[in-house]
Structures are given as structure tokens and as C-alpha cells.
């Protein structure tokens, strides 16, 4: 039964490439290209990009010893500039022990639990966002490679199903806006393609850095659907599908978005 599900999933995935609603690779655009020149300028200059404040905090945390093991990230991983390069562009990644994909935030918390013997950081806490932003920033400018691991295929397919599925009181699927209508506007705001190229992002609306899961929850509330809780497998599958959908696009972390 499960195997049958996986096979259908893979079949869906392959069929997906030819569906008219999906965005052809050449037409994919980062959220950056939908922004005004002011917001672009804010992202482009590291001294005006507030996301860099989180990156700075993350760098300090990277070198701070903590937990029962009294270890810092740097004690195992060394200089993040080399060891964390290309890491964020392949997340969410398959975790063998758990048998499912984990996103970057979950990987950091797994590392804290297993190697630092410290308590996990809560989702959307400043420290977790800072560490995630710092790790992801090391891959800035590199093309996204998520989903190249064949073990991830069934999870990508599940994420895609969620992306296509209509939900909430407005009965909308993610695809209805982000595949079908990305060249239009919704109440004055550009509808983007939903390419997750800069997470964690500094969102002007939030006045803060936030994760892709927070952004997904925002969209679900907008569709008047019940958002999944932070850390839910559905979230990770959707993150995985979105990153797979954006493969080849350049990572911009920390991006600024309106």
C-alpha cells in the first residue's frame, strides 16, 4: 500500500513537469524581482539589510560553548565559511536516523540535542533564526540543489500534493496563486511565484527575520485554512517541494521581502 503510494507519488512528480500550470524553468523568478527598487537596495547593501543583524548574532552563537557537553558549533564544524558552504542549498535533507527529511532549523536543533546536549531552541526564537541565517548566508549566491537525493522523492511528491491541494474557507491551493497567477496583483501587492530563495528572510511586515514555515503559516491563514503547527511533517514536505521547485536558482539569504 505504502509502496503503491510512493510509486504514484513519483509518477505524479514526473507528470508534473509537463503540466501546463507549472512554471517552466526559464520563467522562474525570485521574489526579489517583484520588489521595488528601494527594497532591492535594502537587500543589496549588507549595512542596510537588517537580516545581517541576525547573521551577526548567529556568528556569535556559532562560537559560544553551551549545553552539558560544553561544545560550540565551531568545536566540531570549525570555520562556518568553509564547513557550512553549500549546506543550506541542499536543505531540507534526508535524515537517516529519523527516516524523513529535516529542515535547517530542525538540523540545528538535532545537533544541539545530540552533540551539545542542550535543549532545543523554540521555533522562531531569535537564536534559532540567527543560527539558521548565519549558516544559510554561507551559501549565498550558490544554486539550490535540494531534492537531488533519491530518498527524498516520495516526500517531494507529498509536498507537491499539499501545494496543489485546495484548502481553507476560500478553497484555494498554493498553485492557484503561485503557479497560475504570479504575474498579477492581489490588492496592490505582487503575487510572486513563491520561490523560497532567501530564507530566513527579513520581512518588512514582520519587522523581523522569520522562517519559511512562518511564511507558509501566513499564507494558510490568508486562505482561511488551519495552519500546520511549527515543525509538522507537512511543513517540511512543503519546504522540500518548494526548494526542489526552485532548484538551480541562487540563494539570497538573508533576503529582504515586503
Amino acid at each position: 500500500m505504502r509502496l503503491a503510494g510512493i510509486i504514484t507519488g513519483i509518477a505524479l512528480l514526473t507528470a508534473g513537469a509537463v503540466l501546463a500550470t507549472e512554471i517552466p524553468p526559464a520563467e522562474r523568478r525570485s521574489g526579489y524581482s517583484f520588489m521595488t527598487s528601494d527594497t532591492k537596495a535594502m537587500q543589496d547593501d549588507d549595512t542596510s539589510n537588517p537580516g545581517m543583524l541576525w547573521v551577526l548574532d548567529g556568528e556569535a552563537l556559532w562560537n559560544r560553548r553551551l549545553g552539558a557537553a560544553d561544545k560550540a558549533c565551531a568545536d566540531c564544524h570549525g570555520d562556518a565559511r568553509t564547513s557550512m558552504k553549500r549546506v543550506a542549498v541542499s536543505y531540507p535533507a534526508f535524515d537517516k536516523a529519523l527516516g524523513r527529511p529535516v529542515d535547517l532549523e530542525q538540523r540545528i536543533n538535532l545537533c544541539r540535542a545530540n552533540h551539545q546536549q542542550a535543549s532545543p531552541l523554540p521555533y522562531e526564537s531569535r537564536d534559532l533564526l540567527a543560527l539558521t541565517a548565519f549558516v544559510a548566508q554561507q551559501s549565498r549566491g550558490l544554486p539550490i540543489e535540494t531534492g537531488s537525493d533519491p530518498q527524498l522523492a516520495p516526500f517531494v511528491a507529498r509536498g507537491r500534493e499539499l501545494f496543489m491541494q485546495r484548502q481553507g474557507q476560500l478553497n484555494l491551493g498554493c498553485t492557484n496563486c503561485h503557479d497560475d497567477n504570479w504575474d498579477k496583483h492581489l490588492a496592490g501587492s505582487a503575487i510572486t511565484q513563491g520561490q523560497p530563495t532567501g530564507y530566513p528572510i527579513y520581512r518588512l511586515e514582520w519587522q523581523s527575520v522569520g522562517s519559511l514555515q512562518r511564511r507558509l503559516r501566513n499564507c494558510m491563514i490568508g486562505m482561511r485554512a488551519e495552519p500546520y503547527p511549527y515543525g509538522a511533517a507537512e511543513h517540511v514536505n512543503m519546504e522540500l517541494y518548494l526548494m526542489w521547485r526552485a532548484r538551480g536558482m541562487k540563494l539570497e539569504t538573508p533576503a529582504v521581502r515586503p
Partner: protein, 106 residues
């Protein structure tokens, strides 16, 4: 852990007009928001920013609740001599942060 990002050109020619950019980490809580329980979230903002160039104040700004979180303040000055820019942010709840940057002027 408040942190600041400062952008001052390292070198300039005497008489050059240079741009100084500063970004300070701060929540800038307006004092006008309420919790679900009805309690007012107390105001917590930066109230004053100043910049000294070799001890002389060259720029000062008062900040108010309408200013967004993580205030980005940028201004221009004339490079007159080598030395140091000192920045200071003062705010509610005893907030006080400083930062500095050097410039060499030929």
C-alpha cells in the same frame, strides 16, 4: 544582544563628501499596541542617535514611535581629517549602545 552595522569609507580625500550608514538592532515597540488580554505593551524605542567626528558632534536625530524596527540612519558629512567616528544610541529601559569606525583622510 544588540548589535550595530556601520558603513564608513576607510579612506577619503580631504574635502570629499562621504556617506555614513548605520543600522541598529532594536524592536522599536511603539507603546500603542495591546495584548489580547487588553494590557498595553510598554513603549520601548530608541529616543536619540548621535555621531561625533573626532569629538565634535556632526549629526543628531531624535527618534519617535513611528520609526520602524532596526532603525537605519544614513547621512553625509565632509571628510576633514583622519580620525574616528563615534556613534551613540540611547533609548527606553536604559538602552545605551555605542559603536565607532575609523577613517584615514589624505
Amino acid at each position: 544582544m544588540p548589535s550595530a552595522l556601520i558603513n564608513v569609507p576607510r579612506q577619503a580625500k580631504r574635502g570629499d563628501i562621504i556617506e555614513i550608514k548605520t543600522l541598529m538592532s532594536h524592536i522599536m515597540e511603539t507603546g500603542y499596541r495591546h495584548l489580547a488580554s487588553g494590557e498595553v505593551v510598554p513603549r520601548d524605542i530608541i529616543t536619540s542617535f548621535s555621531c561625533r567626528y573626532n569629538g565634535t558632534e556632526i549629526f543628531r536625530a531624535d527618534l519617535f514611535p513611528a520609526i520602524a524596527a532596526n532603525p537605519f540612519i544614513t547621512f553625509f558629512t565632509t571628510a576633514t581629517e583622519s580620525g574616528k567616528f563615534e556613534f551613540e544610541w540611547i533609548g527606553d529601559k536604559g538602552f545605551s549602545e555605542t559603536a565607532s569606525a575609523s577613517i584615514s583622510v589624505e
